[in-house]
Symmetry: C2
Subunit: 402 residues, 2 copies
């Protein structure tokens, strides 16, 4: 029964915005995807694990489980945190949710009112930046160097903001292999930052999505292992060691913060996937993490070598992370990577310009290049193609290799 | 490093509330769970389907898919809606999300501002009622009879609310096998309700979670098939024909409402589970739905028979739905089923009193008894035990069976 169109314009809520849908697109050389290699996903391991668990306790799928997710997975995470992150926590204080995106979002909703000021690294993961903005936060970036957040600059910023009547409520940080730069915050700086945040009564959200992806050097001490006062909320994920399509992440907090955060959830944790992930990790978590890192390291090496070969002499610099899935490139100031993005995409190279990671604007002359998703060969060839495209577009005053 | 407890009380957002966690509990006879029989879940079918799809396209798990979920599943849903619900819709206008709970919640967020008045059936599913309240809605129940919403009463209520300056924005309804009553709204009433809502410029959210669970009689025409103006948002789910632990539901709306609703999501659709559910349903959806209904019918019969045997002569009445997983019991007015709940639970019988389904309060003398989750035998024995408990508690002036 076709009727005339119903006008909803005066029905939509004030909060609602008509936004673009995300439809996945991939360039031939996809350096925009900060995700693991599709060929590394343990399909058979996951389905075998799932079969075992469904046989054992699949009937539990017929009801809504604990708001914090299945106990087995929370126990396994507790053991992992004690071993890898150096702190003991009861599985009762761990909540498994549908990806670290959901973890971050509900924690933000529990802590942030519209107009509140929050501090993030400048540059920082665009997804979380968008979540803070959706929550109405006034996001301010704190300067970083090769060792990530600079404690003195952070404190100066807090003092300045406080003097302006915008006392920040929290600091969101990715301490290990910061996304997008790949930088890691040394333990010594973490201790200073804890001291600063305690004095200024600020919560720290520590997003440790990438901490398992180290193939060189030493993991630094987690904020949560350095402070168990309730000031630190720890966020983790299985997206980077397994796959984002599994949509399982978790957070650790004091009980009241957890209950408040979980009350913002819109749905329960996926039980089906939890069973598969639990049993797979229970069988071979560290074997799989080792495997992921063995395949990632030569990919980074290939991209770094290709950058040297193709961008040497152009005034371009780049980070060389000791883990993660991406690195950060700084082109000469006059390059506009934001304008280059669609041109490069069309020509076969996908990447994100720095602008999307910049709380304070700017970043147009920077880019995040992800090396974990594509193969060694494609990392090499894609970087060469990018240099070709940029030369064609007049990005370099000096020829690559020159 | 133990430090003194960090005081978060002045950090929490104004919206955040310290709520109880949901921890699953089951009575020996669990009539509180409006979910399918655990033994009916096709474990092997789902893992076989998953294996096939992972082999074929599992690499896609390595990135974030379309905000609306995988195209295959949306195409399958479009075909199902045309066959079962009598309307044609492009897969582009279907969004698969993590359960119908998420579907309802994001649609509510897109349409409802705090203080807005909305109308629901009185009685209505407690989960959606809680979602409207979380969104700050002023929820008003409209009276129902054995054929669900009474159009004349609905219009009188709208006129009254409008005169009071509380013009309702939308009607939320479960037309087929209304939860908790099991009642179905006849097509003729649906047409009248569409006319009423159009005249009063109100959106209809049609939640069709239970529509597949019919083992008697004819499916009525869906609101969406009667109106394609954009006034109707259609919500569906796989929780009731497969399992809630799969957390997959969907909604159909006009494109702008969809984009606005999806912008409230906190995470993406579970891709892993989507692959399993798509391929399983593609292979044997109707065979499985038939199977579910073949096992549900004798369960309903057993519970209805047991109610007759054990509650005859007590002044108790009950609905006899032609499908679904539950029925609605009305005890004599003086019975307080809300107070009985914990006593019965302890003695072995779990159920929900009517109060939790009542937008306008009341409902203490009513109860929803779910028959789909337990076996025929347990439905029979559990109802007998409930009568025993209630007699012991002095609920009946006349003895059961007397």
């Amino acid at each position: 029964m076709a009727t005339q169109t119903f006008d909803l314009s005066n029905i939509y809520s004030k909060d609602s915005v008509d936004t673009e849908l995300r439809v996945p697109v991939h360039a031939k050389y996809d350096f925009a995807t900060a995700q693991p290699d599709p060929d590394s996903i343990p399909f058979k391991g996951l389905t075998d694990a799932l079969s075992t668990m469904l046989e054992k306790q699949g009937g539990d799928l017929a009801f809504y489980p604990d708001t914090r997710g299945i106990p087995e997975l929370r126990e396994l995470i507790a053991a992992k945190l004690e071993r890898d992150d150096g702190f003991k926590v009861s599985p009762d204080n761990i909540a498994v949710v549908n990806g670290s995106a959901e973890a971050n979002f509900v924690v933000i909703k529990a802590l942030v009112d519209p107009g509140d000021t929050v501090i993030m690294e400048h540059y920082v993961y665009s997804g979380t930046l968008a979540q803070f903005r959706k929550a109405g936060a006034n996001v301010v970036g704190t300067p970083i160097d090769d060792d990530s957040i600079i404690p003195e600059e952070l404190e100066a910023l807090i003092v300045k903001l406080t003097a302006e009547g915008k006392k920040p409520k929290l600091l969101y940080t990715i301490p290990e292999f910061q996304n997008p730069t790949g930088n890691t915050l040394p333990t010594e700086r973490r201790k200073q930052i804890i001291d600063i945040c305690r004095r200024h009564h600020m919560v720290i959200i520590e997003d440790e999505c990438y901490t398992d992806l180290r193939y060189e050097g030493e993991t630094q001490e987690s904020f949560r292992s350095l402070d168990d006062s309730g000031m630190v909320v720890y966020v983790g994920s299985f997206s980077k060691i397994l796959a984002p399509g599994l949509r399982l992440g978790y957070f650790v907090s004091d009980p009241e913060t957890m209950r408040r955060a979980l009350s913002f959830r819109m749905t329960g944790t996926n039980h089906f996937t939890s069973l598969a992930v639990y049993e797979f990790l229970n069988r071979e978590m560290y074997k799989h993490i080792d495997y992921i890192n063995v395949i990632n390291r030569p990919k980074r090496d290939a991209m770094v070598a290709a950058l040297g070969e193709n961008f040497g002499g152009t005034g371009t610099t780049w980070s060389t992370p000791k883990g993660s899935l991406y690195l950060w490139v700084t082109f000469p100031e006059h390059v506009n990577a934001t304008e280059l993005m669609p041109i490069a995409f069309k020509a076969g190279v996908g990447f994100n310009s720095g602008a999307s990671f910049a709380p304070n604007g700017d970043g147009d002359h920077c880019a995040r290049l992800c090396y974990g998703y594509e193969s060694v060969e494609k990392n090499r060839d894609g970087v060469a193609l990018l240099a070709e495209i940029m030369e064609r577009e007049g990005s370099f005053k000096v020829s690559p290799g020159g």
